[in-house]
Symmetry: C2
């Protein structure tokens, strides 16, 4: 199909979808009926919670995750490890006797870190712990040796643009929040290149550090010189900022063997419990299977992926079968910007009218606090009642603004979305670092996360009506 034709067809789809979505308001009376229906799930919710938290499924998602990440290791997009992970899960989901276990082919980026190192060579020799950023170009074989300019913001960089020419820009921006501060990682290299810098080193996007560098994806702006870029530790950024503030000349040698390969073949991994009455209507529970190439990817997003699998296992264990299909999707290539999920959306958006709820857990599986939800007020009212079913574990809160790169494509098109809210106070201590391992996981928390995740997925999938849009 030619691009112009494709665009027209796409626009038609969007129009149809909008019409469809806007037509789904329900009457107040109907809403009350649904809320009453929700209240009837009290015993089922209790049995799910009991099985997950106190019963024979206790600690299962934790144990399964430990076995998986200990066996496979981390799983960056395009790596053999990720391929092995997908094979592992394909077999595990079949062994778990889930339905319609399948993989759906997509293309994902294949960036390889290679060897890398950085050394402050002036005013004294000091090794700098670094992690090159995903998508970065490498350096020449001898590395790049240049004087450093330290800035604390893009504003300062722009004010001192003349000084930055030919230098390595070190960003020592304070950590405000991940959402706000991550822009230095995402576009720090291109901003530095625009003022003539030869490389950029970015203070890791972390709220706490034990000299830990954190990686992540970065985006080169079109038409701007691609310069090598890596994250350094909070400690080293602060060290260089102090030295610079004293007028000390700093010189750094940066070596990065990073290579961008052609896109690789990969797969979203799928399994289902097929609905008894409306099998074509779907609730998605999901997490992503890929990770960064450091640590074990146990938190980001092993935990989210494995409580999603657990949801299907718990429902199957209890002999439950919802009216609608519950579909587990383990996304691939999330860390590069939801690459696998974006293609999944393109392949399945024709069925958007049957997509009841998209759920993703991708912010840790620490102590759960509740559920985040994006959708119309009527849907929110129903979700809020569903959360009351969590009374036995006293985690009944519904928050706004569901969050999840992989489900964002559906949510932007109007499908209700839900994400797990947990205690993320330490999440960015470990995120995208060597610290993302099973050590941060706690089976008790994972049991609770899985219980909430399962009750929500099951009840939404079993209600007589889809959630109003």
């Amino acid at each position: 199909m030619k691009p112009s034709v494709r665009t027209s067809v796409l626009m038609l789809y969007v129009l149809l979808i909008c019409v469809e979505i806007s037509s789904q308001n329900i009457s107040p009376r109907k809403l009350e009926q649904i809320k009453a229906e929700v209240a009837g799930y009290k015993d089922i919710a209790k049995s799910i919670i009991n099985h997950a938290v106190y019963g024979s499924a206790q600690n299962r998602s934790y144990e399964r995750l430990a076995l998986f990440v200990d066996t496979i290791g981390n799983r960056i997009s395009g790596s053999d490890n990720l391929q092995n992970a997908i094979k592992y899960m394909y077999k595990a989901l079949q062994d778990d006797k889930l339905q319609n276990v399948s993989v759906e082919a997509v293309k994902i980026p294949h960036w390889e870190r290679g060897k890398e190192s950085a050394m402050m060579v002036q005013p004294r020799r000091k090794n700098l712990a670094i992690l090159g950023l995903g998508g970065s170009v490498g350096t020449p074989a001898e590395g790049i040796t240049a004087e450093v300019i330290v800035v604390s913001s893009f504003d300062e960089l722009h004010r001192r643009a003349e000084e930055a020419k030919g230098k390595i820009v070190v960003y020592n921006q304070p950590f405000v929040s991940y959402g706000e501060t991550v822009q230095y990682r995402s576009r720090g290299a291109s901003e530095a290149a625009k003022v003539g810098a030869v490389a950029s080193l970015i203070r890791s996007i972390a709220s706490f550090s034990i000299n830990s560098p954190h990686t992540g994806w970065q985006y080169y702006e079109n038409g701007v010189q691609k310069i090598p870029t890596a994250c350094i530790t909070v400690e080293d950024a602060e060290l260089m900022a102090r030295l610079a503030s004293r007028g000390v000349k700093i010189v750094v040698n940066l070596y990065m063997g990073a290579v961008q390969h052609p896109d690789a073949d990969s797969f979203n991994t799928v399994a289902e419990i097929v609905g008894s009455k409306y099998p074509e209507q779907v609730v998605i529970v999901s997490g992503h299977l890929d990770s960064w190439d450091v640590g074990q990817g146990a938190m980001d997003d092993g935990g989210g992926a494995f409580i999603s699998w657990e949801a299907l296992s718990l429902i199957k264990d209890l002999g439950l079968r919802p009216k609608r299909t519950i579909r587990l999707v383990l996304w691939t290539g999330e860390e590069q910007g939801g690459v696998g999920a974006s293609q999944y959306y393109d392949m399945h958006k024709k069925d958007i009218s049957n997509m009841d709820l998209v759920m993703e857990a991708d912010s840790g599986t620490f102590m759960p606090l509740g559920m985040q939800f994006s959708g119309r007020p009527q849907a929110r009212a129903i979700m809020s009642d569903i959360m009351q079913l969590m009374e036995p574990i006293n985690i009944t809160k519904l928050y706004d603004n569901a969050d999840g790169t992989d489900i964002s494509f559906w949510m932007e098109a109007g499908v209700p979305g839900a994400s797990l809210l947990d205690d993320i106070s330490k999440y960015f201590w470990f995120h995208h670092s060597e610290g993302d391992t099973m050590t941060v996981q706690n089976p008790i928390w994972m049991n609770l996360c899985a219980a909430i995740w399962t009750v929500v997925a099951y009840v939404v999938a079993d209600l007589e009506e889809m959630l109003p849009r």
Copy 2:
């Protein structure tokens, strides 16, 4: 002097000291007089606190420490960095116009880490972050490749002694407290060697980890084979424990280029404010200048050393001159077991009757909580009153059991000792690791630490009587 003669002379000394110390009890009336005298220091204490916390000396110890550690870096026993640090401080103390600035020659260990690495090669290749332990022998050039046995205690090692032969022992002991758990680092290698192990890897002695290895000294037992030994991260110890619990065979390659050189020349660094009335009587304030060869040694023990320097600076700034001498000692070779301080004790113990109080800050300079004190009840009563002078900053508590390797020699001989108690809840997160940097320091906390440290040193040094022993 022949050893036997020396022993006799030493015993005579000890006898004399004991007589002297036991003769220093004072009458209840005298004690009340001293307590009244202490109460008279309220205004002086306030002026010291004001100067340190709100006045022109605000943040000085922090700024001085930052300049020092940023310029010198870490300072392991026997290194050029430590020599540079001593030269730096000798000049800085002279520039600060303190009295009797001097260095006193001692011999200290010179162990060099060299290059080191560890790789789990079975069941899959995974780099293990390690830090070789101080004093460890190296491995052959090709490293040591052997199967791993994971144990959680010495008891388990002894029960499974037969299995350990020819293997690398991985200790995955839980962290109970530093005092209790550090035995695995201190003697883990020799215990492993006794059952025929070829190397030992010890879970870092840390209460929290972001994949951070922590080094430290270890002691080979006489007559036991010396095997290479290093600390691994909590995460990797737990990983190998999980793998082993599943019956998975683990093989590790360990390479360590560690070398033990002959003992090196070094110096304890000294400066004084000479007493106006009893200059031969001394209050020591101290910290150690050496550190491990990772991070910046900003916490262990840069902070303690620099608040001790600050005490002399604050007293000098305010034009105060105590009756007794306040002596700053910056110890060398502490990390290898108080090696510099032990020789200082030997050189100066003839003056023990004039040693009023030995103070060391070597547990961080986080938010101060009070002072720890070791001494007789009468001395404790006086110290307790001195702590009441800290009422303006509301840190008035006196605790038991002063702690400090370098002052332990004096305390064991009966001299009263004091150490700073601060909030050490994160201390062992950074201790002996790359995380020991200026980033963990806070100028406000250091101001408060310095204020308390100074008031105690000054008042004790200025009282008409030495502390009762």
